[in-house]
Symmetry: C2
Subunit: 518 residues, 2 copies
Amino acid sequence: MTDEPTAAPPAAGGQRRGREARRQARLQRSAASVPYIDRKTPATDLLSEETLALIEANAEVILQEIGLEFRDHPRAHELLKGAGCDIKGSRVRFPKGLARHLCKTAPSRFTQHARNSARNVEIGGTAMVFAPVYGSPFVHDLDKGRRYGTIEDFRNFVKLAYASPWLHHSGGTVCEPVDLPVNKRHYDMVYAHMRYSDKPFMGSVTHPERAKDTVAMCEILFGKDYIQSHTVCTSLINANSPMVWDHTMLGAAEAYAANNQATIITPFILAGAMSPVVIAGTLAQVLAEVMGGVAFTQLVRPGAPVVFGTFVSTLSMQSGAPTFGTPEAAHAIFGAAQLARRINLPFRTGGSLCASKRPDAQAAYESANTLMPTVLAGTNFVLHAAGWMEGGLASSYEKFVMDCDQLGAMHRFCAGVDTSENGQGLSALREVGPGGHFLGCAHTQANFEQAFYRFALHDTNSVEQWEAEGSRQMPERANALWKKMLAEYEPPPMDPATDEALKDFMAKRKASFPDSNY
Amino acid sequence: MTDEPTAAPPAAGGQRRGREARRQARLQRSAASVPYIDRKTPATDLLSEETLALIEANAEVILQEIGLEFRDHPRAHELLKGAGCDIKGSRVRFPKGLARHLCKTAPSRFTQHARNSARNVEIGGTAMVFAPVYGSPFVHDLDKGRRYGTIEDFRNFVKLAYASPWLHHSGGTVCEPVDLPVNKRHYDMVYAHMRYSDKPFMGSVTHPERAKDTVAMCEILFGKDYIQSHTVCTSLINANSPMVWDHTMLGAAEAYAANNQATIITPFILAGAMSPVVIAGTLAQVLAEVMGGVAFTQLVRPGAPVVFGTFVSTLSMQSGAPTFGTPEAAHAIFGAAQLARRINLPFRTGGSLCASKRPDAQAAYESANTLMPTVLAGTNFVLHAAGWMEGGLASSYEKFVMDCDQLGAMHRFCAGVDTSENGQGLSALREVGPGGHFLGCAHTQANFEQAFYRFALHDTNSVEQWEAEGSRQMPERANALWKKMLAEYEPPPMDPATDEALKDFMAKRKASFPDSNY
């Protein structure tokens, strides 16, 4: 981990110029990038043992006394009843300890396979995976401003995620392609991840049939038998908090779990609206909802890979607006990560969240104050790690590459302190001595290229130099970077027969039912 | 800690308008603000026991084999020789374990008294104190741009630090008043802290005589006997890293320690230039330099209050420019804090550091990625907590209030998760139930005003609302806030006789020797 590339690899110079030089630079970068972080730093345990035990006890109270609703899904009721739940209408009450017991068949760690096996990611344990923004209806860049996302934007974000050495995962709905019909856009989205990237990806969850379509496309890409023994898709299943699992999400979760594909069981909570206005209460609700959802996946297929997901932010209690990067949200991140470790499940939270409308200082404070707790908490799957802006309403091109630069730094942070003989540097201290200067010493010369993480977008020049170069602030520099990355993008190779088969499947399916925006 | 005020207290409305209403609002805010943070969250132990023991062993190697230089200070040599050190020229070598042993007389925690006792701060243990930017020759604001600092700017930053509920300390050289002669500006600086604030402050260290002047002014303000039993001044003593303590710093440290005043013994290091280009090596050097400096203060006066200081950032190994908010700097922050705890000394590092020339996203990423590790590390005295810009070359008015807003959030973060019956929120969960909404429930109504930290400068409105209000980014909002704070500033009361005595002392001293810029 100490030899990962910087975000700004040295330009190829001399004889090799132009396209070939760029290709070489990309190959070098790609070869050196890591498929995921294997964290050497410890996870921070912010909450005490007593606090965690209290929250766990309260989650049991919720499951036992209040119950969760599993709506419009007879198969869920059948499975949960069979497991010992008490069911009245949609309300499902779990005898004390049952939900936790049912979670035990879920693996604590699994591999999500990519079509390029060098991109396979581990999810769980000390592994940490960064995936881009998910779900924004709008996109934003400095040139064209804010507008609805299109499939072209979607492909661009997939390409940017592929090109970044710091994102391990292609993600899912990197923006909503609003120019395509709602009931068919999932084909083009899943195809974009499969074709324009070779990193692992997420599937459609907006309807159980669309989850099944995703599984069918995975069968074409990976092989029908292969996916029954290999997880190739990790998809996002959100609770309708508070305490409701609905038909759509249960159906999608069932389709994936039944086919050995991973789901991220995630209460999506703005505390004060969808949960109590206090963090200990919110965490109890999160745990209850997750245990209920995970229990369902394990009843569908014991051993199906599943992730303990959490999305908790706070509300402005004055305006009702969502707020990000708040200290209470950080508490929730740390606490939920601990609860996930205690139930032995991989943990997901996010990421680079912010409420700001532009990639300004507010966006950066909020994002950093979400990302640092996320990383220190030992999160295994970091969603919305790059590009999130405006409370998730907009995917920002500039913020995407700004956030990626921060993710690069997190790679280095998680590598921890090098304690090898070289890392101790006693030879340098002996060589230089009191009053000396380390820049020229042998140890520095041997180490300087890889010594410190090199930010691609941080300007550290003198103010005179910075002004001479146009006084560009970070978003302007980011604007140039994402354009360069898209201009230099080349798709990873794909077997033409597989490509044809995917296109053929999509064409037939699209022709089989009318367009609709529902 | 759960009931501290928000940074934006509700405006006084109705009958009470204008000056009186503002005064009331200020009094309320002041009354509710806390003198320092008493951290309820645990400190993060990032480095392992083995790594820390290795670093400690290497620090002993430095002290024993390489030695530190104590330059041009015969009294230091006399004291160190008497304690058992081996001295050749300026080089002082410590027998194994001696420096650590000499540090044992230093208190693990002390009180710095303010002239308003409600502002006394604790330094050490679980206490955390935020102090503003220190040492910038330039200042910057959006209206007048970048220029040399003046005594007017200096007073403005003292007033802003006084007005902020989130800074506990008035700091020291909040900017350099370049319009005053170098050899006399300390009088006006120390006086500004004494007169325009009633928070604790730092003294002059640029010459041993100026440290003695500071002590003399403290004697006027607090009483000659009082300061011998009460610490009223905490001052910054920087090593000339690598491994040198010079005449100026030793003389200033001696003047303060001899009079029971606190010093922050701080290696100021840009790793790769003033220390090895590796963090484990840098930390060994930091520890050796700190132990040497602390040992000297304890030989001057056993029991003198002293702080283990660390300023470590990294260099761009391409340009030689200082870089901030880097992952390696975060490692150093966490590691040094652990080393300080193990030697039982209060710990200082900082703060809201950045290299950016403007209060943009770069500044915010870098500052947040310094501040969050600083807080999680359990730092006791956070210097440069607000206003630092451009690698410390400029004190920024806008960034000052932007950073203060983040410090407010850290108050809430350090309060931890409320696990009282109210904090558990089971009544809300029972009242609302599955599919309900928490905004209107009794528990939310009872808690919403103090539920979440309210940022003064984060805009969380809809994009439509934000555009209707002028599309102002964070620095523009900050510009309005610091102007409002200065406009509403009122000095804390001071006994006129004391004020006269201070002015008299300064006038006499200034008249007693010629101006000089050395």
